[in-house]
């Protein structure tokens, strides 16, 4: 296998969830100013797309970096089951104290998927809508902002 090249496998997943951008460290007025309509008290929702990129050696016997069924099951168990058709603020423990922006969502999903045993997680890219997307490659993972 050529070591001069790096091959990555990319897979896209979808989930739908609600969220509300609100920081307990800001006043009501500041929350409204900073987050605008995303601060609406009863929340709102998105159809999120999560793009997962994994790297690794291509197994000559299978032609694959990782078996897709293994990756799909892992993502389903680690992320989709807990996030899909849920309130990110209320149903996902990580967002009880942290604002569920898509930046923080990228970091949380990266944290959940980095232990995939068959390949190395390179990047999480999340599309909040067709017009907004966010990427995280795992820098400073231990030192995430609160």
């Amino acid at each position: 296998m050529s070591r001069a090249l790096k091959i990555e496998l990319g897979r896209r997943y979808r989930f739908s969830a609600s969220h509300r951008l609100h920081s307990s460290q800001l006043s009501e007025e500041e929350n409204r100013r900073v987050f605008g309509k995303c601060n609406n008290p009863h929340g709102h929702g998105h159809n999120y797309v999560v793009e997962v990129s994994m790297s690794g050696d291509v197994d000559p016997a299978t032609g694959m970096i990782a078996n897709l069924a293994d990756l799909d099951t892992f993502v389903e168990c680690q992320v989709l089951e807990e996030f899909d058709h849920k309130s990110l603020n209320k149903d996902v423990a990580a967002f009880r104290e942290k604002v569920p922006t898509t930046e923080n969502l990228c970091i949380e999903i990266f944290r959940r998927l980095k232990s995939f045993p068959k390949a190395k997680l390179e990047r999480i890219r999340v599309e909040e809508t067709g017009n907004n997307s966010f990427e995280y490659t795992g820098e400073n993972l231990e030192g995430n902002r609160p």
Partner: protein, 143 residues
């Protein structure tokens, strides 16, 4: 450095099957992709070239030239073909996205004479793709 990307689409059939494995192992590992008579996809290929724009033309690489290279090296080889049987460069390999992207990289790289090949991204479907980079191009994924 500036990146430019050209997209093309081709349609091809393939089958995942390793003759060194038993029929049962092939079915277990590859699932329905092991169906004996194969199946097909509409592939989307995104080829990204890196370089500095030429001060006279303002181009990293003439897109017409890139279009011709892609037509010759990829379309004529792979479009409306069976990847297992009709593409010599894939002989003996399982024609996964990963392997096809790597083969395309090796076909294109020597043909790019202005700028240089930065990334090959091959979509088998909108939800499954492989990227091929030069190892060490750490910023590559941000493009």
């Amino acid at each position: 450095m500036v990146l430019l990307t050209r997209k093309i689409e081709f349609s091809a059939s393939h089958r995942y099957h390793n003759p060194n494995l038993s029929a049962e192992e092939n079915r277990r590992i590859f699932g329905k992709c092991n169906n004996p008579h194969g199946h097909g996809h509409n592939y989307t290929l995104q080829v990204t070239i890196e370089g500095e724009p030429d001060p006279v033309t303002g181009m990293v690489l003439d897109l017409k030239e890139l279009k011709e290279i892609l037509e010759r090296e990829v379309m004529q080889r792979m479009d409306h073909r069976h990847l297992n049987y009709e593409v010599a460069e894939l002989a003996g390999q399982i024609p996964t996205c990963e392997n096809i992207a790597r083969v395309i990289w090796h076909l294109l790289e020597p043909k790019i004479t202005q700028g240089r090949l930065h990334r090959v991204r091959l979509y088998e479907s909108p939800d499954l793709f492989a990227d091929c980079y030069r190892n060490g191009a750490n910023e590559a994924g941000k493009s």
